[in-house]
Symmetry: C2
Subunit: 284 residues, 2 copies
Amino acid sequence: MTPQTAGPAPRLSINRWTCRTTPLQDFLEATAAHGIEAVGLWRQDVEEVGLPALRRRVDDAGLRVTSLCRGGFLTTADETDRAAALEDNRRAIDEAVALGAPTLVMVVGGLTREDKDLVAARERVTENIATLAPYAEDAGITLSLEPMHPMFAADRAVLSTTHQALDIAEAVGSDAVGVVVDTYHVWWDPALASAITRAAETNRLLCYQVCDWNLPLAAEPLFSRGYMGDGFVDFPAITTLIRDAGYTGDIEVEIFNEDVWATPVEESLGIVKDRYLELVLPHA
Amino acid sequence: MTPQTAGPAPRLSINRWTCRTTPLQDFLEATAAHGIEAVGLWRQDVEEVGLPALRRRVDDAGLRVTSLCRGGFLTTADETDRAAALEDNRRAIDEAVALGAPTLVMVVGGLTREDKDLVAARERVTENIATLAPYAEDAGITLSLEPMHPMFAADRAVLSTTHQALDIAEAVGSDAVGVVVDTYHVWWDPALASAITRAAETNRLLCYQVCDWNLPLAAEPLFSRGYMGDGFVDFPAITTLIRDAGYTGDIEVEIFNEDVWATPVEESLGIVKDRYLELVLPHA
């Protein structure tokens, strides 16, 4: 494939962590130079350069912000920790507003070896999302609950399926709460089609993130995310479900992968864009 | 904990692979010496000593056989391969009969990089299980469909949840087709409680296998199965669901773990038995 370096790539957004080893300014400029219109940012970027500077840099590069990663970590049973987590999430919502990001991605948190009560942890997530929802509504920001692959249920997110995310959103009953569909986390789900339809029908399909499921798993399983086409995800099929549900938003490429991070940013962005134009956009 | 070496351990069965590095005869004798009444066997054991000799050895040790692992691998789109797979599964059913095993555990198979159509692969599984069901019925053997953890959806089993297994069983419409609930594979499932109830109500809850979910994941994720209590699985909660559904069958401990395999069999069986008596049996 020949990189289409400067051609258009409608609706493509590059998540900052796809190029995490590239300095922020270089990442923003390289993204814009590839004809890509949008980026997903992380709170680490805010920490690094400060909120006003980050917003200015993104604006200067002519980019939109599609999401901010990440809020969440709301499973603690300790009241002091819970209050701190809620306060931190309110700050994250404020940051999303300041960056012009429409949604905050929520990784809800896992278990501890001392407290393996999965049902109770999930109930606390629902309660805490309900507590945060009015703040998000007032801010004009949505909370994108992220179902994570079940291999992360113990240590990162007790939220494992898209239907489960929608159950939480509906229990909370706020228009500000919805779901992000990330192919790495949900591609295997036998109920994915019905869940995507349900999300769209209830206006809760907030974000679509793509990357592949590479095997063998990396030593850190989070880092098995691959370029679209390198693994086992059927991008035409899942993207068609997303399109048929009526989603017209941006599509964020979020790859965590040591090999990608070791690749010069011009090259890795070229591959991302080519794969997006080949495997995703035609079905979107 | 003090090993209860020779005391009773009602309903406990040891899967052969929990002690795979122990010679077969030593495994059978050590199991019986621990007051354990049953074992789960593998087709590799049949290959090693032959069917009549395996049956005789198990009988001589005074043990029951709770399951045979494994049939399955039914996702191929190639007709020649499909015919071979079906024939191999019929042989596995014959072996289960000869060993007195009531059920054959079915690992349904994965995808290939050349054919990532997950929906089609799942349809082929249903078709092939339907083809095998009458043979199993005639043999008086059940087929225990095994939902495997979604991290194995690409390479081992496109069957990922207990509800999905029950959908297949009901589509096939045979009393010989049901599900094995293995804590390692399904502990994370937000729909586990309703699926266990559904399985029991339709007489399809055929086997209950236990081991823990250890972190960090082993380089070979299959080998992250741990002694009950070492990881994140809530055994009292899941075992209570199984009991409340009316399950009164054997409970098979199946651990794949390099550290367990490096432990002398008397010691590892003692740990398994202690953990079973502490975390599983009181809730069963």
